[in-house]
């Protein structure tokens, strides 16, 4: 749900990074935070456990610039990936404008990817959204690992509507901004059509 503030001339949109545990959602946000001009970002908030696993969410606000006189602000959230945090994941999807699915390229995590994608679908429906129509980007992360499956295999297994798909190595920033740009672009396109 985009928040258009005519008084402050601002458009605020919410992007959620979804995916199985340890796929690199928080690492995406961390890289965006590290590489964004201080004037264009807020604090990176992480509600994590003592072992640095996401407990509730990570949150990073970024300003992308001005469109038609409106400042565009994107609020980036991650969900906790571990299976038993499903109630928290559902809460974070409330009012989402666009979703990035971060897949773990390793063969051993393929089943976790598929399970998380199906969980995303189910949780979006509970908020009245449809994965088939919501702005959506697939990121194939951890491309640098020797255990990573070929891109074609992952694409066949996870891409379901021809959504923009990016190869990534999040700690090095490879594919991170391309992913953000692709989802933000779709969100703004939707705004244009409304």
């Amino acid at each position: 749900m985009t928040f258009i503030n005519y008084a402050a001339r601002e458009i605020n949109c919410k992007i959620v990074y979804y995916g199985p545990g340890l796929c690199g959602k928080t690492t995406n946000l961390q890289y965006i935070y590290d590489r964004t001009n201080p004037a264009a970002k807020g604090k990176l908030i992480s509600l994590a456990t003592e072992t640095d696993r996401t407990l509730f969410f990570d949150f990073l606000p970024v300003d992308l610039g001005t469109v038609r006189g409106f400042k565009t602000r994107f609020h980036l959230y991650t969900v906790p990936g571990q299976i038993f945090y499903d109630a928290s994941r559902r809460l974070i999807l409330k009012g989402v404008d666009g979703v990035v699915f971060v897949a773990d390229s390793q063969e051993a995590r393929m089943e976790a990817n598929v399970e998380s994608l199906s969980n995303l679908d189910k949780n979006l429906v509970e908020h009245g959204f449809d994965l088939a129509t919501i702005p959506y980007v697939l990121q194939l992360n951890k491309r640098d690992l020797p255990t990573a499956l070929p891109v074609e295999t992952l694409y066949r297994g996870l891409n379901f509507k021809g959504e923009p798909t990016f190869e990534a190595t999040a700690p090095l920033g490879i594919g991170v901004f391309d992913t953000l740009k692709a989802v933000a672009k779709q969100v703004l396109m939707v705004l244009r059509k409304k």
Binding site: A7, T72, G95
Partner: protein
């Protein structure tokens, strides 16, 4: 879900209400966020506060508490109160859509804040109803062929946002 649109007139009304609430409740800060974590308006000494983070965490807090409420068979917990050594936070849900937050210290009291918030809640509810009516009217206007101010966003506008 429809977008949330805030117009100048209602923004001024909201500011008036929370400014009065801040004075009446002798609070340090009063702010309003929507349930998705977007800040709508704020009054008070904001210099030392990261209001964007506050808004997001408040919404997360309310969302988690709503989840808890449903688990035990309640519709929602409309009020949350956090007591600190110096500052306290009083959070209440207005019209099931937005969240009113009051930060206060020993110069005020929970009783006073609760009393003043109740009065302000009614006024705010009416303003947010008006906003909803305006949003609905705007939507039908658009369906009738009037363009949104964003209809003219071009691919170039969007690409320009991502120029390094």
């Amino acid at each position: 879900m429809s977008d949330f649109i805030l117009f100048d007139e209602e923004f001024r009304h909201i500011k008036d209400v929370i400014s009065r609430l801040k004075a009446d409740a002798q609070a340090k800060v009063v702010f309003i966020v929507d349930k998705n974590g977007q800040q709508i308006a704020a009054q008070g000494d904001m210099e030392s506060l990261d209001t964007t983070s506050l808004a997001s965490l408040t919404a997360g807090n309310v969302a988690a508490t709503d989840g808890l409420a449903r688990l035990i068979g309640e519709r929602e917990f409309p009020v949350l109160f956090h007591e600190g050594e110096r500052d306290n936070v009083y959070i209440s849900v207005v019209g099931q859509r937005v969240i009113l937050v009051v930060i206060f210290d020993e110069r005020s009291s929970l009783g006073l804040v609760r009393l003043r918030v109740r009065k302000a809640n009614g006024e705010l509810e009416r303003i947010f109803e008006t906003i909803q009516q305006k949003v609905d009217a705007e939507k039908s206007r658009r369906l009738a062929g009037f363009d949104s101010p964003f209809a003219e966003i071009t691919d170039e506008d969007i690409d320009n946002l991502f120029k390094d």
